[in-house]
Subunit: 453 residues, 2 copies
Amino acid sequence: MTDYDAIDQYLENHFLRSIDELCRLCALPSVSATGEGIEKCAHKVVEMLMKRGFAVELLETDGAPAVYAERKGRKDKTLIFYNHYDVQPAEPLELWVTSPYRPDIREGKVFARGVDDDKGPFVSRLFAIDAILDADGELPCNVKFLIEGEEETGSVHLRQLVEANREKLAADVCVWEGGGVNAQEEPVQYLGMRGICYVELSVETANQDIHSGLGGSIFHNAAWRLVWALNTLKNEDEEVLIPGFYDNVQPPSERDVVFMAALPDPAEEYKLRYVMEGFLKDIQGGTEMHIEQAFKPTCTICGLTGGYQGPGSKTVLPARASAKVDFRLVPDQTPQEVLEKLRAHLDTHGFTDVQIEFMGGEGPGCTDPGDPFVQLAIWMAEEVYGKPAQIIPMAGGSGPNSIFIELLDVPIVMAGVGYPDAQIHAPNENVRLDLYMKGARYITRILKEYAGT
Amino acid sequence: MTDYDAIDQYLENHFLRSIDELCRLCALPSVSATGEGIEKCAHKVVEMLMKRGFAVELLETDGAPAVYAERKGRKDKTLIFYNHYDVQPAEPLELWVTSPYRPDIREGKVFARGVDDDKGPFVSRLFAIDAILDADGELPCNVKFLIEGEEETGSVHLRQLVEANREKLAADVCVWEGGGVNAQEEPVQYLGMRGICYVELSVETANQDIHSGLGGSIFHNAAWRLVWALNTLKNEDEEVLIPGFYDNVQPPSERDVVFMAALPDPAEEYKLRYVMEGFLKDIQGGTEMHIEQAFKPTCTICGLTGGYQGPGSKTVLPARASAKVDFRLVPDQTPQEVLEKLRAHLDTHGFTDVQIEFMGGEGPGCTDPGDPFVQLAIWMAEEVYGKPAQIIPMAGGSGPNSIFIELLDVPIVMAGVGYPDAQIHAPNENVRLDLYMKGARYITRILKEYAGT
């Protein structure tokens, strides 16, 4: 291993400047669900990369633009970073201790919407690059960035974008967003993510809400239609009832189960953090919980809406009702397949009045744990975090890694700044300052050791 | 019959002044669901009655105060008017052509929240009283008013109020809010109303919304729990599945069916107005529709809420979900009975986690069509509207008339200013100017003919 003294010294000396840069980026809302601030944030990202000597391009899509950047390095090997600059909506705002777009530093953490998912990982990578450039005067290998603006709405244009720019994006290895440490402060290496198929189901039964005394016994009620339709999708035993839904599901391999069995039991931590007494299907925790969490497909209602939702009572028959539903997919399920089976299922049950709007999706994707780049990432994680890395063959979350695996043929490792209380997608999202520093150090090790410089 | 020339002349001459008074009252929001403007509106109502020489009292309740007023008349017989000064919430605001609390006169109508339900009926009664006082110098009999402020939230304190003020409120006959003409411009006499039991069902599964990728396969989802619980309440054939729900249901009498059969068929009008192709249970219209609409109890979802409801997608597992549900009740069902059976039903199905909040209710109530006061009201309606009145033994809507019937032992007739396009409980609520005038004339006839002066 190379000597990292100069690099680590740089990181120590310039830490607060990097945190300041992170706060400035987090102060810009960039909500892909609503479009708020997207363009301004993309231009800020362009500016940040240009400052580091990268050649930068805005790649336009039919939605939010992606930022592409590249800079040559000493060795002719190419590492590509995947990040996204968009964030989840900050609602419910009243649950934030400080305003989501006024980053606040307290208790050794930075609080802001998007600070962990995914602006912290991005800025810490730039910080690592600053340190290497300062110490070595050049990058150890070619480095590319693809920073998209639609990850939180299902990366709907990413496949098209990667397909159209396959040569430009070509790389040997890839470092994904995400990652960090678990509740035991052990570095975590996720090697796969479930896919997702996100839909909005909606029913309309009239042109306006109607007095429920007038219509309750004789008019179709959009909310009832929706409830009955949803009820056919999954039973109380958590079995998805769409015919053929499980046809292409591959069980975890024996090696996957071994990795899952080595993970700490998260059950008690979940109970405490979310104030819950137990779990679905009488799961107690341990390996069973890990396997359920990542290797089983799901059907989750993410939102329900219809009729009067204010305080007190209002006697109306809702004319329109809708549900946002996400299906998490495991190998070899595909979003397209789920969409087709869902439509057929609703039709079979007489719910031809239920409209399906596809709001984004991607297939599941995994990297082989035996890949040399994975081994290197695991080794470096132990070096930086002082504890052996935990290998998680599949994560419960989703991301468009399958597109990179399929179209760019790269092994993917994750490197981030997260931890279990980071509150991603929730109020009071935060990043720990110490993990932000470790995240940057980890990136310097991955870059230099991969290049072998 | 007395000579009504002087009275009718007064109504002609002072019509616009009364409309102006109506608009001023409608400009005051008085939303019982939120409490907005309730107190200010109550005081305005007090002032309006005092101006007519009534002795007025504010009767405090644990919720909104009721306004009580009385004025003696020539004959020692007492007629009590029931009205309410509260209104439904005006949302969705974007569907109003003009602002709900800026009354707008156009197309021969006044548009405002509450203008038909129930401020128009109230102000037109004052207008009728003004005309009688001007022509005769006194009222023909004793007149009382009870104007409550919680009708739109289920009149939760009215029973207690009437019980505590039984002597004060004692009367021989009662004129209720509501009423008007049907699509054929025939006056309508409603003799009964269904009861109501309004509840909010809610489920909480965690202390915060959680990333659906993390928890989809292992955590309880409040929205799913709610959907499954609701699904056990009613099936797609519109059968309420709560054991014992139908036990106390009395079928309509033969006379009720005869009255219902005499009513015009509303089916085509509903299809046009609400843009719907058909009705529940393959009902085509006619007598069958009228009987379903009023003599069958219902279970209606009025609102559904949970998780993310904004634009685009957000991958969360909702920690809380709730539904507003109203049950319309027919003789001899009671709200208390429904609450108890609902709780037992949910518990039996394992939904002990579903909380029930009772948000208001009252029993059904009917007046005997053979009562002399009913006959008088029917006769006077034909005189004023020029067409025979339609007798509707039971309306689909609800109101606290059962409390008056039970505690004050009065026959109740309805007299209002409504028509089918009045849009009550909906955007663009309105009153037709010609029907407002007829409503006032109708009240002068009822008062004088009842007193026999």
